[in-house]
């Protein structure tokens, strides 16, 4: 299965992936309208340490703790992609507490959200990958 990976040595730490992600999942078709003067809730984030930067998003683990821990039964695996059913999620954030990668977070409504590979938004392929100016983020089989 194809997943999103980041090549640390090429990541510039420009945070564009965060904005592209937030826009892709906003449901709007205008980036300015979607992001300007609003709090953004990207599902990918840049971590920075001692001059090294890298993007982190859901690893789509093969044996995911979030799925096993969800108190609402709202997280499931569909063809390898881990999905959160927002309609069932009550926002307890147990998934945030157990994700070893820090890749799940509360979204704008309080429900948990994370990368679902842009498969159900208008992009159809990970927006963070498409928009990465240095091709540091890739979508591939490993």
């Amino acid at each position: 299965m194809k997943r999103v990976y980041v090549n640390e040595e090429w990541c510039l730490g420009c945070h564009l992936c965060e904005y592209n992600c937030a826009f892709a999942n906003s449901g709007l078709d205008d980036m300015v309208r979607a992001l300007k003067d609003k709090p953004v809730f990207p599902r990918i984030h840049i971590e920075e340490d001692a001059g090294i930067t890298y993007a982190v998003s859901c690893r789509h683990c093969t044996d995911p703790l979030c799925v096993k821990s969800c108190i609402a039964g709202a997280i499931s695996i569909e063809d390898g992609v881990i999905r959160i059913d927002k309609n069932k999620c009550v926002g307890c954030l147990t998934c945030v507490l157990v994700c070893p990668y820090g890749a799940v977070a509360a979204g704008p409504t309080g429900a948990a959200q994370k990368c679902e590979l842009c498969m159900r938004n208008s992009c159809g392929a990970p927006a963070c990958v498409t928009g990465c100016p240095n091709n540091a983020i890739v979508y591939e089989e490993r």
Binding site: R3, Y5, V6, E8, E47, E48, D49, A50, I52, Y54, V56, R59, C61, T62, L65, K68, S69, I71, A72, G73, N87, K88, V90, G91, C92, L93, T94, C95, V96, L97, V98, C99, P100, Y101, G102, V104, A105, A106, G110, R142
Partner: protein, 410 residues
């Protein structure tokens, strides 16, 4: 073809079914459910009262779960288990045989024998969906509610009903709220927040006697109320297991394969006493994630697999009126405490260079990185602890470890 029997129909049972079916699609699975409900998410009963979920969304697994997994679901109560003959008898005398049994009976509310409790008309416990539905019927916009117990159950109940009643008072013999997961500093912050949302507290005090709508407190105070909720604590349901000959402590004793001390009998979830790897001690880990993981692990081993769970820890993510709190592990008295209060509270308990537990109040994002450090017992050096206490980051791992975590299939 194997015959699997599961007593209980909660999260551990669902895990057990999925564990068995991950290896054995043929064997027969029978589930005995004491509650006449499809498996639902117990912790959601307060969210139901709050209006954040409803009966259909509360289902822990889809409607066709039993059918898809070829499970026979029986509503009834198991009253006897003959471990030699491999049979279980139900209250209606029906006898069921098994090759391997999993006891997932959960826990039940502990109700102390208060004097005069029987004189209280509207009194409730808060554990099951039926408890929640019964309580809901009694609620009126004028109700004065007294909740005995300021733990997770009592306070979630308080939050759930706060917009539907006149007033809520919570009492607890402990001197702080959420005493099982928070230290006194953090508890004070949470208490203040709850008070801002209209919840009153009587801590270090509890009801000793009831007479109709009045509670007589240990301190001598009297509290008038319309509705009483008893959330003092829970006890593991171990009766059937001990009758079957299983060793029982505070819960049914299980090893890291979820096997009890009796062959072919397994146990998982709130009724069992497993191992808390953060404290290095046996403990009932009565939280939903562990119930699922233990149940699933039991199912794998019941169907001939060989799987051990050795990294279970206590952990809780809970929020009240928008203020979140994430905790995990244990807080040993000899641990070094690192604290940051830039944004909310972050307290890390470090012993021998290992994170043994933590409390975060406020922004809980990425707290899972802390949890993984507790779970994995990963060594962290002093410099990293200072970074970590400000915000959790994968930078705490060595670059090679981090690249492995992020660069491949995990």
């Amino acid at each position: 073809m194997s015959e699997y029997l599961i007593i209980g129909n909660g999260t551990a049972a669902a895990g057990c079914i999925e564990g068995i079916r991950s290896r054995d699609s043929e064997g027969s699975i029978t589930v005995i459910s004491a509650e006449a409900h499809h498996v639902y998410s117990r912790p959601l009963i307060s969210y139901y009262l709050e209006g954040k979920t409803d009966l259909s969304r509360m289902l822990y697994r889809p409607e066709d779960f039993y059918e898809k997994n070829n499970v026979r679901l029986i509503f009834g109560k198991a009253v006897k288990c003959d471990s030699k003959k491999h049979t279980v008898t139900l209250a209606d005398k029906q006898k069921l045989s098994f090759d391997r049994l999993c006891i997932c009976t959960g826990s039940s509310p502990f109700v102390p024998s208060f004097e005069g409790l029987e004189t209280v008309k509207d009194r409730f416990t808060f554990m099951t969906l039926d408890d929640s539905l019964a309580l809901e019927k009694a609620l009126t916009p004028e109700s004065r509610v007294l909740i005995v117990g300021a733990g997770l159950i009592g306070l979630k109940c308080a939050e759930g009903i706060s917009h539907r009643v006149g007033s809520i008072t919570v009492c607890d013999l402990a001197d702080r709220v959420l005493s099982s997961i928070l230290d006194s500093d953090c508890a004070a912050v949470m208490q203040e927040h709850l008070e801002k949302h209209g919840i009153s507290f009587m801590l270090g005090d509890t009801a000793v006697r009831f007479d109709g709508n009045t509670a007589y407190m240990k301190s001598g105070a009297e509290v008038s109320f319309d509705i009483l909720v008893l959330a003092v604590g829970v006890r593991a349901e171990t009766g059937l297991a001990s009758q079957a000959g299983c060793e029982v402590n505070r819960g049914i004793v299980i090893d890291d394969k979820m096997q009890t001390t009796v062959p072919d009998i397994f146990s998982a979830g709130d009724c069992s006493e497993g191992f808390d790897s953060s404290a290095g001690a046996r403990r009932v880990l009565a939280i939903l994630p562990n119930a699922y993981m233990q149940g699933r692990n039991a199912g794998i081993n019941m169907s001939g697999g060989d799987s051990s769970l050795t990294d279970l820890i206590p952990m809780n993510s809970i929020g009240f009126f928008g203020l979140h709190c994430a905790t995990a592990g244990s807080y040993p008295e000899d641990a070094e405490v690192y604290e940051d209060r830039t944004e909310g509270i972050r307290r890390l308990y470090v012993r021998d260079g290992i994170l043994s537990g933590f409390i975060v109040i406020g922004n809980v994002n990425r707290a899972g990185i802390y949890t993984s450090l507790v779970r994995e017992k990963a060594p962290i050096d002093e410099e990293n602890i200072d970074k970590l206490k400000k915000f959790p980051s994968l930078a705490v791992f060595l670059p090679a470890t981090r690249r492995k975590k992020l660069g491949g299939v995990v």
